[in-house]
């Protein structure tokens, strides 16, 4: 099997997602955060040790919906990007108390309620994006 085929539907980074539901383009995904049981610091991507106090952390799924606090459109992508411009990115604030930077649907803007879904990239990998919950 070629490397390209292996990457098809492969999560772009295992730290970002819980394995279930299996991340796929357009499907629901559970982002994985880490939580420190001592100081309660949350981290995304999940880290095995707390960046604040050094304690071992616990992984938690991030429950949506989230509220968008800011958004913009990228008109010029970097050479390494596996998505063509223009596209939208946003910061979404989750009930757990953490705000995540990610891709967003074309119609997503501040104050929108969004869910997290898988987004396929041109190389076959799966990342995540925020889509309006009312769509």
């Amino acid at each position: 099997m070629s490397a390209d085929a292996l990457r098809t539907s492969t999560p772009i980074d295992d730290r970002l997602f819980f394995p279930q539901p299996q991340p796929r383009a357009g499907g629901p995904v559970h982002l994985r955060i880490s939580a420190c049981p001592t100081c309660e610091l949350l981290a995304f991507p999940a880290e095995p040790r707390c960046a604040q106090c050094g304690c071992p952390t616990e992984d938690r799924p991030l429950t949506d919906p989230a509220v968008v606090v800011t958004a913009t459109t990228v008109l010029y992508a970097s050479a390494e990007s596996e998505i063509d411009a223009p596209y939208r990115i946003a910061v979404a604030d989750f009930p757990a108390g953490i705000s995540i930077y990610g891709l967003a649907g074309d119609d997503v803007d501040r104050d929108d309620l969004v869910n997290v879904v898988g987004r396929g990239l041109s190389n076959g990998e799966i990342t995540f994006e925020f889509l309006r919950a009312d769509r």
Binding site: I12, D13, L16, I33, L41, L42, A43, F44, P45, A51, Q52, V69, T70, A71, T72, T73, V74, L75, Y76, A77, S78, A79, E80, S81, E82, I83, A85, Y87, I89, A90, V91, D93, F94, G97, I98, S99, I100, Y101, G102, L103, R110, R119, L121, N123, E125, T127
Partner: protein, 378 residues
């Protein structure tokens, strides 16, 4: 800080210099600073070279052009905060008594196109590794949470381009109107091309000395270094290239650097006569007003509209033209700010001289990890 002065400064004009190497630029600024201090490279105990992209042995390669003396030459990389890191290291060495003369050089040959900022691979492949987009997100949030408007963002650019007209070291020296800014190409909404600085080439340098050494060399108009702060990020800081931040209570390493500098200098923002801050984009200057405690949170646009931060105002900000007009040579931008503040405090800024300037601040921060503030007095 009690025993550190700046004895000399030098600069190579910022802008695209395709025919010059980073060695040419850095050595030019260094020689000018040494001449300004009345010193030679043989007088220097330590040299710190702030740079992001030049690769291995960059500091030593510049030092060879200065007549390498065998004294330590150390390269420093802290993204756009590199100059601040070099200055902090130099000033601390002098204050501790470990050195009496330190040369700090900032130099950059910035590649054309998007600059990277320590993003992880998954961010780059996901299309999230675009620095201006993070400035766009911050700008959009500023507009949504304060009374700042897109016109205010344009007016920051208008102000700084006005200031740059009389700065021979600036990349862009033409005035722009609000309409021209608002008609320029959209980059990451709400930021348009003329609201963003251009990464570019350039160099600047400063010679730091102990008071005793400066006196012994007969330095004319030594400038007092009241404080040089340097902080790194903590997990709750919000700045590119982070993938997440706390929903509430997120912190600013830029504000922390400023606060440390005020405490070290024993002064407050009300004591400043001028500020050079990191206007990477128009919104960043407004956010710097907040980070440097120049205004209450939420009153950033009010401070701008009051005219206080123009050349003729009570607290001119970026009278050099700022990065919006000078361009941003990453490793050199902080020392470029110091060059401006020193020139102002000496009363040698010519047409753009801020009358009666006695205390000035400069402020830089680097993607991901480092912020620095410098307070100087005449």
């Amino acid at each position: 800080m009690k025993n550190v002065v700046i004895s000399g400064v030098g600069i190579h004009a910022f802008g695209r210099h395709d025919d010059l190497t980073y060695r040419d630029l850095g050595s030019h600024a260094a020689r000018e600073a040494l001449d300004d201090a009345g010193a030679s490279f043989a007088d220097v105990d330590f040299t710190f070279v702030a740079n992001v992209g030049a690769g291995t042995a960059k500091g030593a390669n510049i030092a060879q052009l200065l007549g390498a003396s065998g004294s330590p030459v150390i390269s420093v990389e802290a993204a756009c905060g590199s100059s601040g890191a070099a200055l902090q290291l130099g000033a601390t060495l002098i204050e501790s008594g470990a050195a009496s003369c330190v040369l700090c050089i900032g130099v950059e040959k910035t590649p054309r196109g998007l600059v990277s900022a320590g993003f992880e691979d998954w961010q780059m492949r996901s299309g999230l590794g675009v620095i201006p987009a993070y400035f766009g997100l911050d700008a959009a949030e500023l507009l949504a949470t304060t009374d700042a408007t897109v016109a205010d963002l344009a007016d920051v650019s208008v102000k700084n381009h006005d200031h740059a007209v009389h700065n021979p070291n600036a990349m862009y020296r033409r005035r722009v109107t609000r309409e021209q800014v608002l008609d320029s190409k959209m980059v990451c909404d709400p930021l348009r091309l003329l609201m963003l600085c251009s990464p570019t080439d350039g160099a600047a340098a400063a010679v730091l000395m102990s008071r005793e050494r400066a006196q012994a060399l007969g330095v004319d108009k030594p400038i007092n270094v009241l404080a040089v702060s340097l902080v790194s990020k903590i997990p709750t800081d919000s700045f590119v290239p982070m993938a997440a931040r706390p929903s509430t209570g997120w912190t600013s390493f830029a504000a922390r650097a400023a606060q440390q500098a005020y405490e070290e200098a024993g002064i407050g923002p009300g004591d400043l006569d001028l500020v050079e801050c990191q206007d990477t984009d128009s919104a960043s200057e407004l956010l710097a007003y907040r980070a440097l405690s120049l205004c209450a949170p939420g009153d950033e646009a009010g401070l701008l509209r009051s005219g206080a931060t123009t050349f003729a105002g009570r607290l001119p900000v970026n009278v050099s033209g700022g990065l919006l007009s000078k361009g941003e040579p990453l490793g050199a931008s902080g020392l470029g700010q110091v060059h401006e503040v020193v020139s102002q405090l000496r009363g040698e800024a010519g047409v753009r001289q801020v009358l009666g300037a006695r205390v000035g601040m400069s402020h830089v921060f680097g993607a991901g990890h480092t912020a620095s503030a410098v307070i100087l007095s005449s």
